[in-house]
Amino acid sequence: MAAPALLELTRLEVAYGGIHAVKGIDLIVRQGELVCLIGANGAGKTTTLKGITGLQPVKAGKIVYDGADVTGKPAFQLVRKGLSMVPEGRGVFGALTIEENLAMGAYSRRDRVAIKQDIERVFGLFPRLKERRKQTAGTLSGGEQQMLAMARAIMSRPKLLLLDEPSMGLAPLMVQKVFETILTIAAEGVTILLIEQNAKLALEVSHRGYVMESGTITLSGDARQLLSDPKVREAYLGEAV
């Protein structure tokens, strides 16, 4: 029996002026799932997330989150409802310290004591950040910044976490660490929509996957099945079939 949907996109269209980047996609993420959205550069993955979080106006279609229509709602209101996003390129506040970045992650919360506990908890998860807590985030390495971006996102205690290419530009060891972290967060009950270029790793950790090509969803289904799908293997896993 399938869990209820936490996020549901219906014929979602997002455009930049005349450029139609997302051309009417349907996508569903159920409670407790880890779903990935893969696709080549420029497929429209980031734009999809921008549409969900109100960073780019939705042209047509509908976004339902946690039972409510949130189409066009600004990001800051969604965070208060438990929808958090780690943007492409991490988006840490470079001039703020690590602690301040984490405090901003918890901006939508008012429970000071619990926030303090959560900071300690993420420091447990990311000891590197704890050592550098008073340092400005701009001084961190790319991998550390990604850790901080994820730590910051979970500070809001999200129900749904949107991750946009968390492994981008990272060395293999760090990519490994990022995916371990994603699994840790998922294991704590956070529903995740993961966008990745690294299709193999993404499909290996996900329950289900969607494949996006120039603004439309061309394939979707069980992650293991997608992994063995000849079309996916050829186009995204770099294997000759």
Partner: protein, 331 residues
């Protein structure tokens, strides 16, 4: 040496006022990249409102202690300035947030003209004098005089700036302001309503402007509907000098500009004195003899020129200002 110290004291006083006003420019610029040219007029409105309330109270409740009357004037001035700045942002600037840079800039100039004309209608075109509530008693420090009014201005400005630094560095609002200044989109993803943050920047700037307005008015003893123009331009210069968008820069720039101006005004007469020159015409030699050897090309009334001289130099040699890192690439 005495002149030097005296001019430093005078410069510090005026510089404190510039710094308070410059903070308003720099906070708004830091967050939305707008040079709010109407900010000088907010200072003027603050001075005018405070003046009206103070003279009004002196007429009706003359028995009240001077401190109470001044505080009442300040309080009302802050309320009015905050209300004006808040509405100005909401009505005039917010709709233009995603418009090309020039649009809000021109709107800001328009707002400054509107406010000037409102002041002209309400208070008339004459200079208004500030009633002498406090008779400035000079205290002698190393041969130079510092009045208690000057001390009050410097100390109060320092306290306010310290308070602002605490807010920006330590509080949730302050951290959110810095986060928004850095990346408004990501700030939104944190749950920060950036409209609230932008309003806060305008409101804090306006409150400081009101205090500064009362300060200059008390210092010079007069207020005028046009006073915000020059003061605003100088404070803007101070903000650019320190590095616009940078809070510490605005404070440093304000104090430095005040001191540069005062020193300039104090020495320009001597520097441009022609009597020391060798080949003077007979008429000039006569004039020197009549004026105790002091005939200057430029008098201290050239004081206002220094600010703009500084502005030009900064724009040529260090456009990012003393403490600014990034070169200003916004209008």
């Amino acid at each position: 040496m005495e002149t030097f110290l005296q001019q430093i004291i005078n410069g510090l006083t005026l510089g404190s006022v510039y710094a308070l006003v410059a903070l308003g420019y720099t906070m708004v610029y830091g967050i939305i990249g707008l040079i709010n040219f109407a900010h000088g007029e907010v200072v003027m409105i603050g001075a005018m409102v405070a003046l009206s309330v103070i003279t009004g109270l002196l007429g009706s409740h003359a028995s009240l202690p001077a401190v109470v009357i001044i505080l009442a004037g300040l309080f009302v001035a802050i309320l009015v300035c905050v209300a004006i700045a808040y509405s100005m942002e909401k009505i005039a600037y917010r709709p233009l947030r995603s418009a090309p840079r020039l649009a809000p800039l021109i709107t800001a100039i328009g707002m400054s003209i509107v406010l000037q004309n409102v002041a002209l209608m309400v208070w008339g075109r004459n200079y208004r004098t500030f009633p002498t509530l406090i008779t400035p008693t000079p205290h002698i420090i190393f041969g130079a005089a510092m009045t208690d009014l000057q001390m009050l201005i410097v100390v109060l400005a320092a306290l306010l700036m310290g308070g602002l630094v605490l807010i920006v560095q330590r509080t949730r609002l302050g951290i959110a302001m810095r986060a928004t200044a850095q990346n408004p989109q990501v700030a939104g993803l944190m749950g920060i309503d950036i409209n609230v943050i932008i309003s806060a920047a305008f409101v804090i700037g306006a409150a400081l402007a009101a205090v500064a307005g009362l300060m200059v008015m008390a210092y010079y003893g007069i207020a005028h509907y046009y006073m915000g123009f020059l003061l605003g331009l100088k404070a803007f210069t101070a903000a650019v000098l320190g590095g616009i968008g940078n809070l510490a820069g605005a404070m440093l720039g304000g104090l430095l500009l005040g001191i540069i101006e005062a020193l300039g005004a104090g020495y320009i007469g001597d520097v441009s004195n022609v009597c020391g020159l060798s080949s003077l015409s007979d008429a000039l030699q006569q004039k020197c003899a009549d004026n105790d050897g002091q005939v200057s090309l430029f008098g201290s009334n050239y004081q206002d020129v220094f600010a703009f001289f500084v502005l030009i130099l900064v724009l040529i040699f260090r456009p990012s200002g003393l403490l600014g890192e990034r070169v200003a690439d916004r209008a």
